[in-house]
């Protein structure tokens, strides 16, 4: 019933509008034309110019007011070393673009108002001015060149090789979550093979590589403050993107093409909780490449610890190797590596080899 009323109301409103339109049309026809009115210029020409200036003024005031009052809402605290540098370039670019933006809009709407039609006026025949055109070709070119050069230096640093001794963590995106893998005691990540993936071996650890036997896979990304962290990134099914706006960090996770990103976190989670006054604050790992139905829910938690906290966390975790938690997979380890694997992973109870050989392979 309510729907019907709404429909009827809409129809009535439309009917009223159409009637108003037709009445004004008829009035226009009947109304005698003023003698001095210019037949070619629609009435209300000046009003349009005034509206333009009004729009300009209200728009610019609104822009500056909101940008200033809400600064902390849209400008997230920076928590990585390179973030400070990119942020500086961001704001330099911002100053330049806002200047150009405001000046050109003032000219655009200002000229529209100032040079609106007046009967006694005649437009100035001004087809070109080479000097002027040269100026506004060269000036933007120079400014842009400067922006490019300052950007490229940083770009090559950020995307260049990670410093020696970076913490290496593997991040894998899959529908719709993240998995993390640490190299364990030996400091090396073991090989992976997507054909080894199954419900338990989520990351496809290839157990024929001994370097993987001590790898461990916590449920969070835990990284130390003040030390370069190198994320080795891959996607398991479709493209995902490893993104966190606080670190100003982003890199796609592509199936079949490993990528990486390194950065130095500068603020620990605990410090952020204090700074933001939010005791539940967490850095969040955001998926930023459309990946399917639950794309918007694909979240990981990143915890930044002080170096000493991190060391003790790591020590604790490296006892929980993946192989130790899933000893069934010992069956996939080649016979000659088995003993080393048991030691590396810290498995205490040895399964009967004959039993375990039947299960565990990926297909």
């Amino acid at each position: 019933m309510l729907n019907l009323i709404i429909v009827v109301a809409v129809i009535l409103v439309l009917a009223v509008l159409v009637t108003v339109f037709r009445v004004t049309n008829l009035v226009d026809v009947v109304k005698p034309k003023k003698d001095d009115a210019d037949a070619n210029v629609p009435s209300g020409n000046t009003a349009q110019g005034v509206l333009m200036v009004l729009f300009l003024v209200v728009g610019v005031i609104g822009f500056f007011y909101y940008s200033k009052t809400e600064f902390d809402t849209y400008n997230l605290p920076i928590t990585s070393e390179h973030g400070h540098i990119t942020e500086r370039l961001f704001w330099i670019t911002m100053v330049i673009t806002v200047f150009v933006f405001i000046v050109t809009q003032i000219f655009l709407f200002g000229f529209s108002f100032k040079y609106r039609y007046k009967k006694e006026n005649k437009a100035h025949f001004y087809p070109h001015n080479n000097k002027l055109e040269m100026i506004w070709t060269i000036v933007p070119a120079v400014v842009l060149a400067w922006l490019i050069i300052s950007g490229l230096k940083e770009w090559s640093k950020i995307t260049g090789p990670a410093p020696e001794g970076s913490e290496i963590v593997e991040v894998m995106g899959y529908q719709f979550a993240w998995a993390f893998r640490y190299p364990g005691k030996d400091g090396n990540l073991g090989d992976v093979d997507f054909r080894k993936i199954d419900a338990i071996n989520q990351m496809g650890l290839d157990l024929s590589d001994r370097r993987g036997h001590d790898d461990f896979m916590p449920t969070q990304l835990v990284i130390p403050k003040g030390k370069p962290v190198l994320l080795k990134i891959r996607g398991r099914d479709v493209i995902h993107s490893v993104y966190n706006p606080h670190f100003r960090m982003q890199m796609n996770a592509v199936p079949g093409m490993p990528t990486q990103f390194w950065f130095v976190p500068t603020v620990s989670t605990a410090e952020m909780r204090e700074q933001t006054g939010n005791p539940d604050f967490n850095y969040e790992l955001v998926c930023n490449k459309i990946c399917g139905k639950s794309h918007f829910g694909m979240k990981g938690i990143i915890t930044v610890l002080e170096q000493d906290e991190y060391d003790s966390w790591y020590k604790e975790q490296q006892e929980n190797t993946w192989l130790k938690q899933n000893p069934d997979y010992l069956a996939q380890v080649p016979n000659d590596l088995k003993e080393a694997a048991i030691i590396a992973s810290g498995i205490e109870i040895i399964e009967d080899e004959v039993n375990s050989s039947a299960q565990g392979s990926s297909k």
């Binding site: 339109f21 004004t24 629609p42 209300g44 110019g49 729009f55 809402t73 849209y74 990119t86 370039l89 961001f90 670019t93 330049i96 673009t97 150009v100 809009q105 655009l108 709407f109 529209s112 040079y115 039609y117 437009a123 100035h124 025949f125 001004y126 087809p127 070109h128 001015n129 055109e133 506004w136 933007p140 070119a141 842009l144 490019i148 950007g151 490229l152 770009w155 529908q175 997507f194 054909r195 993936i197 398991r236 099914d237 479709v238 493209i239 706006p245 606080h246 100003r248 960090m249 890199m251 592509v254 199936p255 079949g256 093409m257 939010n278 969040e284 930023n288 459309i290 139905k293 794309h295």
Partner: protein, 622 residues
């Protein structure tokens, strides 16, 4: 200069100013449906484009409802969306992505490529070049009907059980290649690819025609240096399309192979839905390279015609020559060329070699220079003009405003190091919706308002046009300007909701504002629709040259027949921008007026030219 005179037989039979359907032997079908008249084909493109624009707009409002009011009960949409409304009365999460994808596909390809180029290239190229029709009227007709077919396929894909394509309008594999990844990648994606293949055929048929017509069928005296900027824009656009769309076709073809024939062009090392796929050695990045090799020229395919239309309208209504005619052409050529070598700026953080990122940053920021020149030239054209605010003029000024607002943010996104944090956030959404989406859309509307009198022989209502402009202009800024803030805060695009992340808990107010503004903006378009269809039948009859414009189309009768000019094709003696020339009696001198008739206003070199003019067939004015 080649002289072209393809006088059509039917033109010799009775050509008066009165329009009479029964006078010609054409049936309804050949006149309005399978017509080879470029004017009719243009109108077909326009009306199909309007249909798609409305649909695309409605889709966007549906997903804006979700984003602005996540808790809203959408049960009332069930009659339209059926199973896509969940039992709880919410929008289905996957359908949300389908909406986003279809909105993008429809707006970029069906509205702003076919609807814009299809309409105005078709309508204006013969009329402004002085040709009786396109080089091949038949191919032109095919171009529309391939587009129509493509539209039907795309439309049908929205009603299938598994939903339309939903991997984003950029259809990146593996997401788009694997039905296991999302249901929209099943039949919906197949239909999307079929539709796009047909669409590409349509674009190529059209493009070849536009290029050939501009090169070969200009009237006597219409040298390239006298062509209106509209035609230059359409010409360059057509060349871009011709060079880039085949690459999209090949990208789509390889995707079809990967989907259906088990090849591994884009797929490798994939484990999905509990099984490892046999694909090895492919690269998803390859698709992105191929896609953006079209995709980037595509944004210029969208914006250049709009800029061309704007050049013409701003000049006419400022009563001033366009400032820097040659610089405008040079900029368009520069943009056209550079648009082919900037594509990878869409891919800075895909894992592409960072060195490539540096190269593409440089090339991308170079393209900002010709774009800036164009904006400055528009503003200088307004300077010391005598501006008449027709609705077309308002929309053109709006276009320039959007072009600047959206253009400056390109300096952030084109800079690889800044793109790290802004990539795929709402900052990008704001950027391209302003610089390309809204600007091109305004160009299209400006064109409709300006050439409506020529298309339908009647005037659109001026007041409604202005109301439409202000509501749209303010509305669009209210939709897209706040998105910059949301984007700087890192909000990712293509998110169904931001509830999962504490980082994105803010801006509920801005998102609601954006949604309300989007609804109002869509609502304002109904004013246009009413004005458009009402004026076709009931508008005031148009005078011969309502805007006092110089270009050739205004020398045709009010209702031009197929063949455009009843008599001989007019000759052209000057460029299209002799507005307010010092000494001249009127503030405009049409292109058909020889220099020898206007000694009072000629410049020195023009007096020289006047001596050599061939005046046969020109009656002396006054």
């Amino acid at each position: 200069m080649s002289v072209t005179d393809i006088q059509l037989q039917q033109d010799t039979a009775g050509h008066d100013d009165h329009h009479d359907d029964h006078e010609h032997a054409q049936s309804f079908v050949t006149k309005y449906i399978f017509s080879t008249d470029h004017k009719t084909i243009a109108k077909q493109f326009l009306i199909t484009g309007i249909f798609w624009a409305l649909l695309g707009g409605i889709l966007s409002v549906i997903f804006r409802l979700q984003l602005g009011f996540p808790e809203m009960q959408l049960e009332w949409l069930r009659p339209f969306l059926g199973q896509w409304i969940t039992p709880e009365g919410q929008l289905d999460q996957e359908f949300y992505l389908a909406l986003v994808t279809m909105h993008g596909t429809i707006m970029v390809f069906f509205v702003l490529t076919a609807g814009l180029s299809g309409t105005f290239s078709n309508f204006l190229i013969p009329l402004q070049c002085g040709a009786r029709d396109m080089a091949s009227g038949f191919m032109n007709m095919l171009s529309y009907w391939f587009f129509f077919l493509s539209s039907v396929v795309m439309f049908v894909s929205m009603f299938i059980e598994t939903g339309p394509a939903s991997g984003g309008w950029t259809i990146y594999p593996p997401l788009s290649a694997l039905p296991q990844a999302m249901s929209g990648s099943g039949l919906g994606m197949t239909l999307w690819l079929v539709s796009m293949a047909l669409f590409i055929v349509s674009t190529l048929l059209g493009g070849i025609n536009y290029i050939t017509t501009v090169i070969n069928l200009r009237t006597e005296g219409m040298s390239f240096s006298r062509l209106p900027l509209t035609i230059w824009a359409f010409f360059i656009t057509a060349v871009l399309g011709l060079l880039s769309f085949p690459v999209l076709f090949s990208a789509a073809l390889l995707l079809i192979f990967d989907r259906s024939l088990g090849t591994s062009f884009y797929l490798s090392d994939i484990y999905i839905a509990g099984e490892a796929l046999p694909h090895l050695g492919g690269s998803p990045i390859l698709f992105q390279h191929l896609f953006w090799f079209l995709g980037h020229p595509e944004v210029y395919i969208v914006i250049l015609p709009a800029l061309g239309i704007t050049s013409e309208i701003i000049s006419t209504n400022s009563r001033k020559p366009i400032f820097g005619y040659k610089a405008m052409i040079g900029s368009m050529l520069g943009i056209g060329f550079l648009s082919f070598i900037v594509w990878a700026h869409h891919m800075f953080i895909t894992g592409m070699n960072p060195f490539l990122g540096s190269i593409f940053t440089i090339l991308t920021l170079i393209i900002a220079v010709p774009s800036a020149i164009k904006a400055f030239n528009y503003i200088t054209t307004l300077w010391k003009g005598n501006i008449i605010f027709t609705p077309a003029m308002l929309f053109s000024i709006g276009l320039v405003s959007f072009f600047i607002s959206g253009g400056v943010t390109g300096l952030f996104l084109g800079n690889s190091v800044l793109d790290i944090n802004l990539h795929d956030t709402y900052f990008v959404v704001a950027h391209f919706h302003l610089v390309m989406g809204s600007a091109a859309f305004f160009g299209m509307l400006a064109g409709v308002y300006h050439w409506f009198p020529k298309m339908f022989g009647r005037m659109m209502n001026d007041k409604l046009g202005k109301l439409h402009f202000w509501l749209s202009f303010v509305g669009i800024y209210m939709v897209f300007f706040p998105m910059h803030y949301i984007g700087i805060a890192g909000f990712p695009r293509r998110y169904y909701a931001f509830t999962s992340f504490d980082t994105f808990s803010g801006f509920a107010d801005l998102n609601a504002l954006v949604s309300i503004a989007a609804i109002l903006t869509l609502g304002a378009q109904f004013i246009f629709l009413f004005n458009f269809f009402y004026s076709i039948f009931r508008g005031k009859l148009a005078p011969a040259n309502p805007w006092k414009s110089n270009t050739l189309e205004w020398t045709t009768p009010r209702f031009p027949e197929h063949g455009n000019w009843p008599g001989a094709i007019p000759k052209v003696y000057r460029w299209a921008y002799d507005y307010s020339k010092p000494g001249a009696k009127d503030d405009f001198i049409p292109q058909t007026v020889p220099y020898s008739h206007t000694p009072e206003s000629n410049l020195d070199h023009e007096n020289e030219e006047a001596k050599n003019e061939d005046l046969t067939g020109v009656e002396k004015s006054e």
